[in-house]
Symmetry: C2
Subunit: 518 residues, 2 copies
């Protein structure tokens, strides 16, 4: 057994069963070892952003890490934008990066880079393997670190991958969270019991079924409202789960919402701040004078902290808990007419299947979707989390591999789609049940809106040229077919509904290019 | 005048006239300022790797920097792989990266990242602008730094872009190289005069016309051979220029070549080492006991050092200098038959036009091309330099914009092309005279070769799945048309010659998908 075989053996023993890869010469032993390790499935991405984004999507759905196998510094760099989203989504992701042989690195060969510096910008945990003797320990450690809901990165020099490891035991490590901070929980409980107007902002595991059910108990006992950051990583939604209000993207709406509260309790959530800094607008959307209490910090399991909090604030009756939770009632009806953000969102909300997974990178097109889908059947929902565009199609790849029985619907803005368009090929190769609803509005609409906000209501030629991507128009049907995914174009809501039904019924990936009315 | 306008004014005054951009909210003032600054042309890339790669290609052709305008950390990260190649190509590149308002960054909004850490991995010079008062000085400094043949990066917080700069003067800075190290030159001259078998390895500016003509003088005076690293950034070739031998990629061939020499003189070149570390193979390809002398180091202008060296070693006659230089004689004839690395390379060498620019990312398909094209008419030639795949199509964009009158031929491997396929759209949008010769061999052939080298002559299913990209096959004609570039497919050398002639005659971009026989 060589080092690479030992590393993969360790990965499987520690619960990793899939590897999204784009490997090169420095990872050859790991590539070869994949053939000896049936416990790990290997999926090729034609660009590293596809691999890291897919690992993120997989992690968000199953709450356990997939592995991304990447080639040296440039390969890792190509995966950083998607890892940035994974970090903000608190998604469990394990990166394994091949490095030059430890004895060759000082020669500074052409591909040499400071991989550790790159890894540090997105990883909650990182390490360079120093010897084949520690390889299994390092591998177990990176998986345990990733499993705590963070990006974890291990750099393995090529010589350690080749080294003879016959006598080295395979290490198992249990991911362990830090204990709940009972003092913080108690502080929050005391404030919640005062009856002051309170928003509980949920994030990370608090937005999964268990966390949400606990949060519903706390709401019933205290009357608090349940919110989430603007761009949560993964939310279980629909059915009888409590509806969670996302803090709006634009600061004025966000501040209007938050002005209702005297107290903000953070449970696995990021501090609610504006997405960008706007002159004359405060950076925090929490009103001056409001109290802010976090019941957990990174490294802890927020769902445990929520349980402790629920125990502190009392036991409401079942009827009280159910109040405000979903009832399947608000099934939206199928609209007709041109494709607008409203009609597109309504069609999706009306047709999305039970236990589907919606990967939302529709940006301006899908703004209306979230509230419209509160009353839908149970489903998973994910957003861009870190704001780095191009996350949608790779995440859809990972989601479909994580849950082969669930239909994945990717609402996908065109400008963002171009960033990681290579993901379509992996969908075709793996025959994934992904329906991509491509929002063709011919531009970076969100930037056009921000230009307007900045007072540039009549942008000049140069500014428009950086926002419009319709000259030449991208033909998404050709593009998609070129990458092996069958595709069709629709111009109105009725056609969208027809094609969406058809796409979800047929196995394998489909792309529907929606010509959005501007 | 606000900070953004001041920054662009400074850029123009310091000789920057093109900006490859993919901007977002944090760069809005710069986007708006582009409309007030007619001296700078703005070109949109649909992925940041296109922007940085194009800036690299532009810099390689003109030996002066273009600007890449990038959005925060994730935007910069997407450009790193191409910047890595630019760094190894010693290409002049200026990055301007928008950052959150300085007062907002501490709030850690979703897109917040350590941009400086990212920039440090590829930049020879980096700075974060601390005040609008220093903005013009910072901008002049980043351009002067880039002009010295390196990647230079300036991070500009959004509030400094908006700040009133009416009273702040526009700064001009002259790029200045460090003085030539005359001692090093003298050492090299003394060794060269001993008549020992000497290889002079040229790199950076030494491979441009002026440097090459000086190198030819030194060769005539001393009998040294002229070599280059395996992957030089930019080489002026053909016509009456001296032919330069590239050190082969595979270590055995490289060591066989270098075994001929007792002395290796480095002139603007990287230390010749193997591309990867192979067990049992030395990292350096210079034989034990051979002397190694560098006549320059980074920050100096190697063409000046070469001049000084030529002056030291004496003045050979014109005939002696011309010996070994090109004569246009070896025009290769047009082959027929299936498309193989040999026939493809021969067709290109036979048809490439005078003053064309060849961007070679053909990898295994174009291995035979370089020696075949020694006798061609004058042309520019560039390679992958840092080994980060995906450089070719973006570099072709930059080259075509740098030299609109010259035909750009991009020999482009399929696996690498997928990394930055978005570049095709910019070619269409800007109507660039680029002929992309897409080498469809359905796989990462170079990795298959490295697998074989490692003894894996019969790779298993998993290993093959990471090397073959032909299932599903990528339809490059559909893909290219989807992005606005007309495309055709050829199956043999005669059809390639026909389509290549047609493509070069018609203005605008064309893609020819070459079905390479495996």
């Amino acid at each position: 057994m060589n080092g690479a075989e030992l590393a993969l053996r360790t990965a499987v023993l520690n619960g990793v069963d899939i590897c999204f890869a784009n490997a090169g010469t420095t990872e050859i032993p790991l590539v070869a070892a994949l053939d000896k390790e049936p416990g790990i499935r290997c999926v090729l991405g034609l660009f590293e952003g596809v691999c890291t984004g897919a690992a993120d999507g997989f992690g968000r759905v199953l709450d356990r890490p997939a592995m991304a196998l990447l080639h040296l510094g440039p390969g890792f760099a190509n995966g950083i934008a998607c890892l940035h989203n994974a970090r903000r989504a608190m998604s469990p992701v394990v990166n394994v990066i091949g490095e030059h042989a430890s004895w060759h690195r000082h020669a500074d060969p052409p591909l040499n880079m400071d991989i550790a510096a790159l890894a540090g910008t997105v990883s909650g945990w990182k390490r360079t393997c120093r010897s084949h003797r520690s390889l299994s320990r390092d591998m177990a450690a990176v998986i345990a670190a990733g499993a705590r809901g963070q990006v974890a990165s291990l750099i393995i020099p090529n010589d350690h991958q080749w080294a003879d490891c016959a006598d080295i035991p395979v290490i198992m490590a249990s991911p362990s969270f830090e204990p709940v901070d009972l003092e913080a929980v108690d502080r929050a409980a005391r404030v919640l019991r005062t009856g002051r107007r309170t928003a509980m902002v949920l994030g990370g595991r608090a937005l999964r079924i268990k966390g949400l059910l606990t949060a519903a108990r706390i709401r019933a006992a205290t009357g608090c409202d349940l919110l989430a950051n603007s761009f949560p990583g993964y939310v279980d939604r629909g059915g009888s789960l409590p509806a969670v209000t996302r803090i709006p993207y634009f600061p004025e709406s966000a501040m209007e919402l938050m002005a209702r509260y005297d107290v903000v309790v953070l449970a696995g959530a990021w501090d609610p701040v504006t997405f960008f800094g706007y002159e004359g607008v405060p950076g925090s959307v929490i009103p001056d004078g409001a109290a802010k209490i976090a019941i957990d910090h990174s490294g802890q399991d927020v769902s445990e902290a929520l349980e402790a909090l629920a125990d502190c604030v009392g036991r409401p009756g079942k009827a009280a808990v159910a109040k405000g939770c979903g009832t399947y009632a608000k099934r939206s009806s199928l609209p007709t007419g041109p494709l607008t953000p409203e009609t597109v969102s309504a069609v999706i909300a009306a047709l999305q299947p039970e236990e589907g997974i919606v990967v939302d990178e529709g940006l301006t097109t899908s703004f209306p979707y979230y509230p419209l889908s509160h009353g839908c059947a149970p489903h998973g929902f994910m957003t861009i989390a870190g704001g780095a565009i191009g996350y949608g199609m790779p995440c859809a790849v990972g989601a479909a591999l994580a849950a082969p029985g669930r239909t994945v619907i990717n609402i996908q803005a065109d400008g963002s789609a171009m960033y990681t368009v290579q993901a379509l090929w992996t969908m075709a190769r793996e025959d994934l049940n992904v329906t991509t609803l491509l929002c063709n509005n011919g531009g970076y609409r969100i930037i056009a809106m921000e230009l307007e906000r900045a007072g540039l209501t009549d942008p000049g030629k140069a500014a428009r040229a950086l926002v419009d991507i319709d000259s030449p128009p991208i033909d998404w049907v050709d593009l998609s077919r070129g990458l092996g995914v069958s595709a069709t174009r629709v111009e109105d809501a009725r056609a969208l509904a027809r094609e969406m039904k058809r796409a979800m019924k047929e196995p394998g990936p489909h792309l529907i290019e929606m010509m959005i009315k501007r």
